[in-house]
Amino acid sequence: MKKILILNLTRIGDLIQTTPLTAGLKEADPDTSITMLAHTNFAGICKHLPNIDRLLLFNVKQLEQGNKVAILDVYRYIENLVKELKAEKFDMLVNLSHSPMTMVFAKMLGIPDVRGGCASDDGYRVTNDPWFVYFTGMIDFRLYNRLNLVDIYQIGGGVKPAARGLLVESEGPAEAVKPLLKELGIEEGDAVIGVQAGASLKERRWPPEKFAVSADEISKRKNAKVLLFGAPSEKELGDRVASAMRQPSINLVGKTSLEELIGLVKRCDLLITNDTATMHIASAVGTPSIALFFVHAYPVETGPYGEGSITIEPDIECFPCSHGTHCPHYDCFNRVTPIDVADAAELLPELKNHNEPFVAPEKFPTARLFTPFFDEYGFWDLRPLKKQRLREHEVLGRIYRHLFLQPYMEDADSKEWIGYLKRNFELWPDEDRHGWIEKETAKFRKLAKVASDARRTLTDMQSEYKKQNVKKLQRLAKKLPELDERISTLGHAHPELQPFVRIFEMGKENIPDSALGLMFEKTRILYKSLIDATAVIIGLLKEWDEAERPAAHV
């Protein structure tokens, strides 16, 4: 029996997003025993998540005495938790939390196979699994990432995605809310829409007044009843939506238990929401959502993990902005209008009739709409609803996706990514494309050149090392960090190189300070991977150019 510990101290949405991983682990071996260590604040949702054999809660609050806590009590608590977890002798740890704290914690557990961050013997971050390297580095190349977090969690945990949706147990909750629905005057057959105007990060919230207008409009068009959802901390937000609405609404913000929320979301015909846990619950229980993404919330990463929903994002160059951005204008909120949201709701029934963009070009002039789907290999993907201008990062994003997922789609049509671009975007004129490809190829070549120089230097170092020629070795050793620095600089200069550069940099971090010979060898492999991957990208760009060129020129 394989024993796996999943460390996930983050929020409800993140916990729901691990369910395809746990399901996949159980599918691969039903005898696998899964222990989840979650934060006590989120224990409620874990009860509704299947495939967790044992739930452990990280609970420091219980140690408080009159709002104060003794450091030594916390120390003992963690010491005991570590001891208890060590005694379980887990075979694998999946650390889905980013913080350095969890890495030090993970290190203490001494589990042989760690997926995700873990501190090294000398206190540095090591991320051994390449997918968690990707996951950790992604923050620096999100514009070029085309993989949903849920898929990354799965591959990182050793599970191949297979169009497994999110899983939240909902039959019990659906049954449990029946009396409440009756009390609220919701009859069978009533159209019901849910509104979740909150979001864990305040600056990501589309203004409540806009939600109100959307809800009014949809309610009028569909003759639907409106339920407002939200956490107790979002009460003020709920009040603002309710008071701005002209149609009647049922304000349940801060009044529902988690179980009730699940039951009610399941009852809804539609959910309008920011990027929230409620959105993930909707995906899990099969309720379509119109999910709004602003500021740094990015649908590629955390969009509704299931088919039949629509994501809306602003058509603005700066989207998505970096985490931690405090924008002087938040103009992105204005790019999506309340009527856009109501119009998007009208599109939901049509999604299943179209595999390509079908929305007229003049609609949604300042917003971009996508719908999530599972590709033929079981990976989650997004496609636009309106054919739009091809942007540079779309091309490179597709190429990177194709490159990184290649091991999981053996019989893949090698030009499928070109097909995707053709179907969904207005391609550039020949000269523009050709010129752009030349320009991009040059950047990747530059990167490959520096990596080759570095590899050569390293080879020289290896041979001087063998000869024990210390002086020469020292001189060469000075050169290498300079070349690494240039690689990093190139990544910053050309963000499209960042996926490779960040993965390279983290690879270097992961090499332990061990015997020199071993370090040389590991470093050499990193340079080689960088050179090889660059060559593949250049080849793919060329392939695109050739595929698009009129036949006569070929």
Binding site: P30, P50, D53, R54, L56, L57, N59, V60, K61, Q62, V69, A70, I71, L72, D73, V74, Y75, R76, I78, E79, N80, V82, K83, E84, A87, S99, P100, M101, M103, V104, F105, K107, M108, A119, S120, D121, D122, G123, Y124, R125, E169, E171, G172, P173, E175, A176
Partner: protein
């Protein structure tokens, strides 16, 4: 959807383990009836468990017996759930232990379990220990559905002890120093005991004397003079006794537990008394063969034996304190059924096998079995005799990983209690050797020589099969070789019994329960907190048992308050590695900051 299908669909989807339990048998002795109010109720062993009139009225009665302040409730007895109806509406975490798989299956078929399964954790059978971690038992309250006590008294006692001890251990952070023997049979038991205590949640600090064994035996090379050897070895053993005392002084355990032949002498025990550390000893030996108990037993606070009757009387006569019977056990982590490759089946398999040491009675008795396909494994056999020719491993030591393969591969595993004096079976034999439990835990079929204590531990004919003579043994070998189904049935029942009643976790729970009761309310002595908890001085006093922690705290002045900023000032990830204490402190700092 009919109730049964609905329940099964839910179980299959959400609780595959319970679903497996449902599939693995029938409703046995459960008879379902209809109550006067029209609800399904049942009789178990011909006795009604719920009211035959209005079972729905049990709900409020049962709930009223449990304080609403209890937020973590453990219940013994699922039945048909009528008594639970009110309780599960409360805002509390509820764990239900159903001892009978038959009743559980019947409940699945007759009542809608949706709400119970949604609200509660349901555990069927004796596997509840895996749920009893420290967080799960935090402020927990245990209650039984009364009608169950009639059928499952020992099951409840078992649960209650496990619950009480584990809750106590978790709440009090119990620390036990475990002292093992230099060599010999009890070393294996020492490791199983350590593992069991850790699973219970005890912090175990082992004194593993086997590290000193080579030096102990090397003494024999110093001189051929036997008297000198003995004197030197005795001095060496005394030195180890001093070592135990020194380590205890440093560790300050709440309890010191010695295993048979642990190197502790009277001086060691007196030293412990001075430090007010209670001591216990598990004498997993035959008191008739080894007699050092006569000298040592009165100096221990608790003395546990694998024999009763005469031995207990003798112990009391010489003034031993707190004497209790604690039979051997199995360790399910090591002793478990194993899947074998074809090659392993060939190597380890036979119709009849024996695994153990070549004691005099065995060498002799086994001569009567040489016409069978009989393989012998173990050590200290005379390889050039007829019996010795059956030895498969040339007297080399085998570890449990390997010998459980023999158990799984053999059709019949023979178990004959050892004797260096008798020629065969000991008609007066009382205690039961560990092999009885190990074999059963492996799901292996065994034939064991009858022992006075056996029937109180395993039910002969149902959970184990016995013999009292060579003739009876041969008849049973012939019979069971022909009746595979019966063999498998007994082996399966035996395994269930051992997993329920005879694991080292069971034993250590009993042992700790005796110590907890014997020591009274002041156990373990409070590690008192004087002054402000985050004052460095206070922390140093409280952390006196952790030298590494003290080392860390020395970075600060005793009269200053430790703050998060100060901790973080000392620790910077990425600037060199962290020690254990530094790692813990780093996590503490981050956790408190997030709070």
């Amino acid at each position: 959807m009919p109730i049964k299908e609905k329940n099964l669909k839910k179980l299959q989807k959400e609780q595959p383990q319970l679903y497996e339990i449902y599939l693995s048998g029938d409703c046995g002795g459960v008879e379902t009836l209809q109550s006067k109010s029209g609800l399904p109720v049942f009789k178990f062993k011909d006795v009604a468990v719920h009211s035959l009139y209005k079972p729905e009225e049990e709900a409020s009665r049962f709930a009223s017996g449990i304080d609403t302040a209890n937020k973590n409730i453990w219940l013994f007895g699922l039945g048909y759930g009528y008594h639970l109806a009110e309780l599960i509406k409360r805002d509390a975490t509820i764990t239900i232990i159903e001892p009978s798989a038959e009743i559980f299956r019947s409940a699945v078929e007759n009542i809608d379990l949706t709400e119970i399964l949604d609200r509660c954790t349901v555990v069927v059978g004796s596997s509840f220990r895996t749920r009893m971690g420290r967080p799960e038992l935090k402020s927990a309250h245990l209650a039984a559905f009364r009608p169950y006590l009639r059928f499952f008294e020992s099951g409840y006692k078992n649960l209650e002890t496990a619950f009480r001890v584990r809750e106590f251990v978790g709440r009090k952070n119990l620390k036990v120093m475990l002292v093992g023997a230099l060599y010999g049979g009890s070393v294996t038991t020492f490791r199983y005991v350590q593992n069991a205590l850790e699973r219970i949640g005890v912090e175990v600090v082992p004194f593993d004397a086997t590290h000193f064994a080579s030096a102990f035996f090397k003494i024999e090379d110093l001189t051929p003079n036997k008297a000198h050897q003995q004197k030197l070895q005795s001095l060496f053993a005394n030195m180890l006794g001093e070592g135990v005392a020194a380590m205890a002084e440093h560790i300050r355990p709440d309890l010191l537990l010695g295993m048979a032949q642990a190197p502790m002498d009277i001086a060691t025990l007196k030293h412990l008394k001075k430090m007010k550390i209670p001591s216990a000893f598990w004498f997993v030996e035959d008191f008739r063969t080894l007699d050092y108990w006569k000298r040592m037993a009165p100096h221990y606070d608790y003395f546990f034996t694998i024999q009763r009757g005469e031995f207990i009387d003798e112990l009391k006569k010489i003034g031993a304190n707190h004497v209790a019977y604690l039979p051997q056990a199995a360790s399910p982590e090591s002793h478990r059924p194993v899947e074998l490759t074809e090659a392993e089946k060939t190597r380890y398999g036979s119709k009849l096998s024996f695994m153990g040491s070549g004691y005099f009675n065995r060498k002799n008795f086994f001569k009567g079995l040489l016409d069978y396909d009989f393989k012998i494994w173990g050590t200290e056999w005379d390889l050039d005799t007829q019996v010795g020719k059956r030895v498969q491993n040339a007297n080399n030591r085998m570890d449990p990983e390997e010998y459980v393969k023999i158990f799984s591969a053999s059709k019949i595993n023979l178990n004959l209690h050892s004797s260096n004096k008798l020629e065969g079976i000991d008609p007066m034999g009382d205690f039961v050797n560990p092999r009885v439990f190990e074999l059963a835990a492996c799901g292996a079929f065994s034939l064991v020589d009858n022992r006075a204590e056996l029937a109180s531990l395993m039910e002969p004919g149902r959970e184990i099969e016995t013999f009292s003579s060579l003739n009876e043994l041969r008849e049973k070998i012939d019979y069971y070789l022909k009746h595979k189904d019966e063999r498998l049935k007994i082996a399966a029942a035996g395994r269930q019994r051992v997993l329920r009643d005879h694991t080292f976790e069971n034993r250590m729970e009993e042992l700790l329960a005796a110590v907890i009761e014997g020591e009274g309310d002041s156990f373990p002595p409070e590690k008192k907190r004087s002054g402000s908890p985050n004052l460095v001085q206070t922390m140093m006093e409280e952390g006196a048992d952790d030298p590494e922690l003290l080392e860390f705290l020395k970075k600060f002045k005793p009269d200053e308050m430790l703050t998060l900023e100060k901790i973080k000032g000392e620790l910077d990830i990425g600037k060199g590695g962290f020690s254990r204490v530094e790692s813990l402190m780093y996590v503490v700092g981050e956790v408190l900051e997030q709070k």
